[in-house]
Symmetry: none
Subunit: 200 residues, 2 copies
């Protein structure tokens, strides 16, 4: 990943204006409208600016030729410091990445739903009471996936497993029993992400 800054401070200002505009309107407007945004009067110069911003990776174009922001455009820095939760190690630097939480977690918005987790039967998998599960709705899953299953009309979050040729739902907490569905086991969706909010 090329780490590039706008070639000069003027372009950085234009980028900032564009980012502010995008934050408001969630789209990149036409050259004519960008003239106002940038405070200049020349469409061709707007194009020149965007061409340069493209070169350094802040915008790109769709196959239709429409300008769109890149990941780098959304400057929420993924910190260059890796936090060792194990032993403290030296900070190794040099690599900056950018990161949009929504993008990371959600590939297909229309198939994705969020479900708050109740209870602690998945504690062993690091899923706590009150966490929000990011679920991609589909009815097929692999053994080992954590799934939201519908057992006898009830929803439950468990690890999908197989035992003697039959699917079972395994909690990740020894205080809870393994669920061995008698009828059909219907999968509501698969866990693709997890979000936790700490209160202060």
């Amino acid at each position: 990943m090329a780490e590039s800054n706008p070639a000069n401070t003027r372009d950085a200002e234009y980028l900032a204006k564009l980012q502010d505009y995008y934050a408001n309107w969630k789209s990149i407007p036409s050259y004519a409208a960008l003239c106002e945004v940038f405070g200049i009067a020349s469409k061709s110069w707007v194009k020149a600016i965007l061409d340069r911003l493209e070169k350094v990776g802040f915008v790109e174009r769709t196959p239709d030729g429409m300008w769109i922001p890149t990941r780098q455009f959304f400057a929420r820095p993924l910190s260059d410091v890796s936090v060792p939760a194990g032993m403290p190690v030296m900070v190794n630097d040099t690599h900056t990445d950018y990161f949009v939480i929504d993008d990371m977690l959600i590939d297909a918005p229309s198939k994705t739903t969020l479900i708050p987790v109740k209870g602690d039967s998945m504690l062993g998998a690091g899923i706590h009471d009150g966490d929000v599960a990011v679920i991609e709705k589909r009815n097929l899953a692999n053994v080992g996936d954590i799934v939201v299953a519908i057992v006898d009309g009830e929803f439950t979050l468990k690890t999908l497993d197989k035992e003697r040729g039959k699917f079972i739902l395994r909690p990740e907490n020894q205080a809870y029993p393994v669920i061995r569905p008698e009828g059909t086991l219907e999968i509501f969706g698969v866990l693709i992400g997890l979000v936790r909010k700490y209160k202060h």
Copy 2:
């Protein structure tokens, strides 16, 4: 919060396609391009669809007449089903809420940074290797907070605790030792959120 759904299921499908498109390209394309996205051939019908989606609050227009998504466009359904990770309980339905992940996790963007977690010393707190920690940068914290501390110039994620009047950093994994800083204990930030992505 106005709960408005697309008037009919067909419009809901079009909305879903538009949301998926936007997730990819971060812009709403021209009517012509939307024809392909929606799988129809009529620009005028595309406009009719967007007019209806505007009426129920999923898109709006800039002063220039450009279509842009609204907040509701990004909100994901916080599913009406509470998933019991404990024992299965009955589904209670009827109430739908919306929810924007970024908004939930991040209060002050400029003070917030994301840091990938390395290692498993916080496993007991449900923080796994590879999780992304949402850190609010500040240098004061309370006992019991999970903090990113700088110990001898090195970053580490631990629970802040006090022992005989001195601050210590406690891992949430018995395989790791408690850190008792000799010099000063500098707090880089406090853990306010956690994001995990499951790979498939």
